[in-house]
Symmetry: D3
Subunit: 232 residues, 6 copies
Amino acid sequence: MSHVVVTDIARADAEVVDALAEFGSATVHEALGRLGFVGAHIRPIQQDAVVSGSAITVLTAPGDNLMVHAAIEQAQPGDIIVVAPLTDSPYGMIGELMATQMQVRGVRAYVTSGGVRDSTELRRMGFPVWSALVSAQGAVKDTAGSVNVPVVLGSAVVHPGDVVVADDDGVTVVPRLLAADVLDAARARAAKEAANRARYASGEISLDLNALRPVLAALGVDYVTQADHDRR
Amino acid sequence: MSHVVVTDIARADAEVVDALAEFGSATVHEALGRLGFVGAHIRPIQQDAVVSGSAITVLTAPGDNLMVHAAIEQAQPGDIIVVAPLTDSPYGMIGELMATQMQVRGVRAYVTSGGVRDSTELRRMGFPVWSALVSAQGAVKDTAGSVNVPVVLGSAVVHPGDVVVADDDGVTVVPRLLAADVLDAARARAAKEAANRARYASGEISLDLNALRPVLAALGVDYVTQADHDRR
Amino acid sequence: MSHVVVTDIARADAEVVDALAEFGSATVHEALGRLGFVGAHIRPIQQDAVVSGSAITVLTAPGDNLMVHAAIEQAQPGDIIVVAPLTDSPYGMIGELMATQMQVRGVRAYVTSGGVRDSTELRRMGFPVWSALVSAQGAVKDTAGSVNVPVVLGSAVVHPGDVVVADDDGVTVVPRLLAADVLDAARARAAKEAANRARYASGEISLDLNALRPVLAALGVDYVTQADHDRR
Amino acid sequence: MSHVVVTDIARADAEVVDALAEFGSATVHEALGRLGFVGAHIRPIQQDAVVSGSAITVLTAPGDNLMVHAAIEQAQPGDIIVVAPLTDSPYGMIGELMATQMQVRGVRAYVTSGGVRDSTELRRMGFPVWSALVSAQGAVKDTAGSVNVPVVLGSAVVHPGDVVVADDDGVTVVPRLLAADVLDAARARAAKEAANRARYASGEISLDLNALRPVLAALGVDYVTQADHDRR
Amino acid sequence: MSHVVVTDIARADAEVVDALAEFGSATVHEALGRLGFVGAHIRPIQQDAVVSGSAITVLTAPGDNLMVHAAIEQAQPGDIIVVAPLTDSPYGMIGELMATQMQVRGVRAYVTSGGVRDSTELRRMGFPVWSALVSAQGAVKDTAGSVNVPVVLGSAVVHPGDVVVADDDGVTVVPRLLAADVLDAARARAAKEAANRARYASGEISLDLNALRPVLAALGVDYVTQADHDRR
Amino acid sequence: MSHVVVTDIARADAEVVDALAEFGSATVHEALGRLGFVGAHIRPIQQDAVVSGSAITVLTAPGDNLMVHAAIEQAQPGDIIVVAPLTDSPYGMIGELMATQMQVRGVRAYVTSGGVRDSTELRRMGFPVWSALVSAQGAVKDTAGSVNVPVVLGSAVVHPGDVVVADDDGVTVVPRLLAADVLDAARARAAKEAANRARYASGEISLDLNALRPVLAALGVDYVTQADHDRR
């Protein structure tokens, strides 16, 4: 029940972490068995950014960024700082000055179920952010919290060292120990999709490729004309 | 109470459908007597796209895109696929592979009260989407639904073959049989607005052009100085 | 309890009003003692716009823009029109034609807890807007309201002549009589931040610059290894 | 596109309408093939009321109850007045005086996607209401609308004369022409549930009664000990 | 910009304050010209309570109840404590122990745009509360705020000494200096409603009493049969 | 990444579990260091119920209750079934028949971030429920999930065997291994509160008992007269 900063967390293999970015949050979430997506309310503040990295997790009081200051020191190149306020937090918890410190240390992104500010500058700096909101409302530095403990980010739990994959579709969290398996599954899935993409581009449809016609029939879906339908 | 795919829906005249796009969802909604707007929560995932098309309607279970696969086969060039999950559906129900099939068949847009994914790719493909959300969370293909039956899309009912007009202001639905009349009304309205625009640009104001001063007087709105107001 | 249009409101010194824009809504809100932010739900419809101006306030019925027509006549160059519907108002209360009139008169922006439409055109015109939503749903001109009385805009009260500062982080309202003091405070704050920015860019961190280590210690936050933490 | 009051709508057989109340909104919605529920946001303002009746539908502007006055005259004993404002309507559109008129005419309930007021008195009168909200904010009587046209109520379309079933679980709408079939299906379902209820009360479980063990097995759900699970 | 506790606020005449309770929030809001309602999201935690009182206003940080402690000392018998956190505040900011202090001092109710806890005990004590939410999440006592300054409560501004009227329909705020006039208007309105209530109970309808038939005609609302309507 | 039912979870000491109920969710959450509250959106469907029990956790697809059927078999007397759909789930996932099975087996309550139905019957049965919503919309039994794995319930993580404490203030989750310590802390807290309650009831105030006057002074909060305040 006391608060801690854990200083020596384990991370997934760097090549695995980096490779996951190329598949994006949707494919990675599929490869994880349709789990790990944090929810549609955590959105990018920029367009077209795709990142993956190891989570430095931060548990804070709403509107209090004290522990984010502490988290920056714990970050290494390739990390993503994940900030989960305990309840709704309609504040801009970090801005340009905090992001500068992160960027200097090689932090790849900031992900939060709360908010950020200085959004114009953050985009100009090329420092990507995913957040529930943007707000000019500032934070204080008064309340204890923890760094590198498990946190709830939207509908997912993030453990320190888990892999975070984020793009325009949102944020997916991959448990550290599953990262290599998920990468394999994502590669397999992407290969299959590439094959299908070519067939769709040439006019085939998924009703056939996925053998869905018998599924529809088994579920009792009838094909009818408008005239027949009106007569029912 | 059984599920169907209606295969031969009627559509409005193609020239009428196409012409409605040039007026946009706001003017068309006015021309329809201020009806048909589906609500501010269904937003474009891109900027500056304007489309009109004939609705292929799809009634689905939340998080289940089986019937969207069936709907693609029913679509013709110039159609817009309109997907209405039965309740809230925070899923990315389609992505790039589904959109590729639609684009090959000449489908002009995808409109939904649920969500989509692969949003980056959808924008790159130039395939426009209006949706309630973007989500990496994927769908299944397990549950029966219907294609080309009336559906509730936000605050509007969409019948198959109705005309959908969508732009940055959102989505307006025009009943098929009223499409030609609405086009006439939209043209008249746009002509009047063009005339007014020039007068506004030269400094006139709508208080005069719309004869609103007597309306204000009749409603008892007084013009007062700050000093007089403070004395009240 | 009757409705008025106040015709001769006081404004802050024009140089002060103009100068506040350069600091943005977040810094200005800090300079005001962390007050005046209207809430994260009032968002820009464009990117990268930064404005400041004197508030022309408008109290309206939801979905009724009669008083906005009246407000335009009261506006002077450098003003910002602030429209606060009495309750939720999911309407596009103004569009291109109203904005044209505003722009001709030198109005710098439109800020509302309701909605706007013609959003594409508004962006093309370079007329900046902050609103709670975008909607094609049109307004009527039937109901009395007031111009230049105090209004509630999100979580802030706006008096006529107050200074509005708006950018990508949202909207902050500065009481007219405090504008000069707030400008001084914003300048001091910005100077201090510039100094810190350089130090952060060279690798220092805020944990040291802000002397936060003793704060953490006083709050009982422990630094522990993962192994020690797991043993607790 | 003009507004009407339809004066001679068809209703379902009165015995069928009355009989549906005994099954409640959940069973009736199941009997309709899991359709017709208007959404969890339309809630009773009282507890333990159960009603069924024929819909008098009312399309209104938000915050304007003119057409509700017109609707009362069209109501017969056994009807339920269903009011669907065109967009969000955070107003108390009716109160005690309107409800008195309804009750005198034998109207059984008031159902709305907007709000009501005088909620204390409505409960004391024993006049049941289902609404999206309760609000002291009053309505005006200025805007045209329609009575007895199809309306969108939450996620369902209500046609005049459709059967509305409402209880503590919310509101379900049954198309008029399906009412008798749905009643039969509800009776069958209730009979089956009564049989199961006794078996559950004596200790049997649905995993067996519904033969769900093979379903779990087919889906690959494993039964494991905690120790085995931790080893995975 | 500094924080204060104002110690000697003016209140409205006690007889006027007390008398307003008998009319309830809806009638009082009408008597005020349809203004002063704080919004449907601030709800009673009990049923059938009706109170009026003079506002002790409290501006707090979200989740920090320090200033509520200070406010209790400023309260007199007949007051209502009105707590407005600066932004969303999903906390139970007070519970039984704070309410005990209030009740001992004759405070009549607690009204907040944030939350409360110990809701069971508060109901048992007969201490009425109107709040945006109920939450077990506790508050801290760390941050400065103000007592008896103007605050924003939902969509209304509350000045210290304003009259608060609250019942099952929600909360209405009457400016102190208008309280006597509003009481007169409420009495006139209630008398008129009592007369109408008797007529409605005997079968007359508001369409006639309010002379709404010509209004409908002027707005172009047609009375048609279903057959005629279908032919359109 | 596969789905499991864990069959032999550990529970906290039964006396500890039972004893926690007497303190309620607010005091228990304080005793846990202000953690463990699941959020204000998960509400009781009844009034005045207070329960504690050991969590049987259930991870489901939205709208699919297959795994709840499986969970019932795993429950023992004194357990609480905790159901966390993977995303928003506006369905009545269980009703009277499922609750009957639970009640027969000694399950004390049902807690969910989704919905329930048959709410009238559940109250009549005296089977307490905490849920995000009530909905007649029914569930299917088609999709795999897990029983007795860690789940995210609102803003808390629930592990199987954790202690759930629920009352009118909402739901708090206590990690199993901390249950005894939290009980001690809750007792200490309750004893202290009892002592304070008596002093408050006799007229003392928390400003004195909590020594808050110097806190206010240190934060720069000034006590001023209205006249002095107006002069600032």
